[in-house]
C-alpha cells in the first residue's frame, strides 16, 4: 500500500480487479426460450474514492430466443466481480443463455473490449466473473424438451418447424394416423428439410390401409422385425441435428382427404443458436 504524507492513495482490496474508465460499461445479452424469466446482472465495483459500491441491473429477456440487452454503467475504478442470476422463473440448462461483455460506446459504434462471462443460467446456477468458464450456446448438453406439436386438420400432414434461434436434435417423435375408408395403402415417411429442400427421408416399414388407427414412433432405435401385429409402427431415423427454420414433416404416400394425424409428440434436445 502506497501512502503519502497528506492523502493516502487507494489500494486494491483483496484480489486485483479489472480497471475500467467511465467510458466502459457492461453489456448483458440474453437469449431465452422460456416465458416468465427475469435475470439480474449484479456485482461490486471499487471506486477510486475507496468505496465498494454494489450494482444490480434487472433484465427481462424475450421468450422467442432473440437477443435482448441491458447496460450496466460503470464508474472509474475496479470491477471486483459480477454475477448473472435468475430472479424469476425456473429455466433449465439450455433455455436461458447470458453473456456479459465489457464494451465502450453505443449502438453500431460499440466496441467489445472483453467477454467476461458466457453460458447458460438456471434457477440454481448462475454465471460468475471471475470463475465461470466461457461457453458457447451450442456446447454441451442442451435442454431436453417434450413438445406437443400442432394437431393438423384432416388431409394435412404433420409439420413442425425448428424455431428461430434454436437448434434441435430430434430424439423421438410419436404420432397417430387414423385412416378413412378410402381403399389405398398409406406409407408414412418422416422427412427433414431446410425450409425448401428435403435432405433426409425415412419411410416406415409397414403400410397402413383403410379404416385403421396406427401409432408411429420415429427414433434411432431401429425397426421391428417379423410379423407386426400390434398398433405400433416404427420408423428408423438417423440422429439428425436441425437448424432454425428446418422442418420435420410427415410425407404420406396415398394420404386420403379424410385421413387424420393426431398431434405429434416430440422429444428433442434444444440449444440456443448463435448466442
Amino acid at each position: 500500500m502506497i501512502q503519502s504524507a497528506a492523502t493516502p492513495a487507494v489500494a486494491l482490496i483483496g484480489t486485483e480487479g479489472l480497471y475500467v474508465t467511465g467510458d466502459d460499461h457492461l453489456l448483458l445479452t440474453v437469449s431465452n426460450s422460456l416465458a416468465g424469466v427475469a435475470v439480474a446482472l449484479s456485482g461490486r465495483q471499487l471506486h477510486k474514492s475507496g468505496d465498494v459500491v454494489p450494482f444490480s441491473e434487472p433484465h427481462t429477456p424475450a421468450s422467442d430466443r432473440s437477443a435482448t440487452t441491458r447496460v450496466a454503467r460503470l464508474a472509474r475504478g475496479w470491477l471486483q466481480h459480477l454475477t448473472v442470476t435468475v430472479t424469476t422463473g425456473a429455466p433449465i440448462g439450455g433455455q436461458t443463455f447470458a453473456r456479459v461483455d465489457l464494451v465502450r460506446g453505443e449502438g453500431a459504434g460499440r466496441i467489445v473490449l472483453a467477454t467476461l462471462a458466457a453460458g447458460y443460467v438456471t434457477a440454481r446456477n448462475g454465471l460468475a466473473w471471475p470463475g465461470s468458464a466461457l461457453r458457447s450456446s451450442i456446447e454441451g448438453a442442451g435442454a431436453l424438451r417434450s413438445i406437443t406439436g400442432a394437431d393438423p386438420a384432416a388431409g394435412a400432414e404433420v409439420s413442425e418447424t425448428v424455431p428461430t434461434g434454436a437448434r434441435w436434435a430430434l430424439r423421438a417423435l410419436r404420432v397417430t394416423l387414423v385412416t378413412d375408408a378410402t381403399v389405398a395403402n398409406r406409407e408414412v415417411a418422416l422427412t427433414f428439410d431446410d425450409g425448401v429442400t428435403v435432405y433426409a427421408e425415412y419411410p416406415s416399414s409397414v403400410n397402413q390401409t383403410a379404416t385403421q388407427s396406427r401409432a408411429y414412433t420415429a427414433s434411432s432405435a431401429g425397426v421391428r422385425g417379423g410379423a407386426a401385429t400390434s398398433l405400433a409402427i416404427m420408423i428408423a431415423t438417423a440422429p439428425i441435428v436441425a437448424l432454425s427454420g428446418h422442418r420435420i414433416r410427415t410425407l404420406t404416400t396415398g394420404l386420403a382427404a379424410g385421413d387424420n394425424f393426431g398431434a405429434p409428440q416430440l422429444d428433442v434436445e434444444e440449444w440456443i443458436e448463435g448466442a
Binding site: 426460450s33 422460456l34 416465458a35 416468465g36 424475450a62 421468450s63 422467442d64 432473440s66 422463473g89 425456473a90 433455455q95 424438451r145 417434450s146 413438445i147 406437443t148 406439436g149 400442432a150 394437431d151 393438423p152 386438420a153 384432416a154 388431409g155 394435412a156 400432414e157 404433420v158 409439420s159 418447424t161 424455431p163 428461430t164 378410402t182 381403399v183 389405398a184 422442418r247 414433416r249 410425407l251 396415398g254 394420404l255 386420403a256 382427404a257 379424410g258 398431434a263
Partner: protein
C-alpha cells in the same frame, strides 16, 4: 396461454408448451392433387377439398379396368401429388418488435389469425408440480 386453432390450416396447438416455452405455429404445406375423374376431366385442387371423393392410385384404377368396370362419379384417379406453401399461411415467428419499448411483437405472417378454443393454460399445474 391456451389451446388455439389456426384459422388458415385449422391445426390446433397449445401455447405455451408443457415446459413453458412459447410455441410458434407455422402452417404445414398443402398437398395438391392432380386427378382425372370418371368423365376424363382433369381436376386440380388441395387434398383437403376432395373429402367426398375416393382417391385411387394407378394400380387401383388398373384393377378396376381389368375387371371391365369404369370409375364411378365419386372416384378420382390420382395423376400426381405435390406440396406447395399454403395460401394465407400463418407463421408465428418474430419478424420484429415495435413500440417505444419494443413491447409489440410482429409476426412473420398473420395468415387468417387464430381462434382461442380454451384460454386456460393446460399445463400450468404440471409445471408447478415439476418445480
Amino acid at each position: 396461454m391456451a389451446l388455439k386453432r389456426c384459422n388458415t390450416c385449422l391445426g390446433e396447438y397449445h401455447d405455451p408448451q408443457p415446459d413453458g416455452a412459447t410455441y410458434f405455429h407455422v402452417c404445414p404445406l398443402v398437398t395438391i392433387i392432380e386427378g382425372r375423374d370418371a368423365a376424363g376431366v382433369t381436376v386440380v385442387g388441395p387434398l383437403e377439398s376432395f373429402g367426398g371423393s375416393a382417391l385411387l392410385d394407378a394400380a387401383a384404377v388398373q384393377a378396376i379396368r381389368d375387371r371391365g368396370d369404369a370409375l364411378t362419379p365419386r372416384q378420382l384417379e390420382v395423376l400426381a401429388r405435390r406440396e406447395e406453401p399454403r395460401p394465407h399461411r400463418r407463421d408465428e415467428h418474430t419478424l420484429r418488435y415495435e413500440g417505444e419499448k419494443g413491447e409489440r411483437r410482429v409476426l412473420r405472417r398473420e395468415g387468417r389469425g387464430v381462434t382461442v378454443l380454451d384460454p386456460r393454460d393446460a399445463f400450468a399445474e404440471r409445471r408447478g408440480r415439476a418445480l
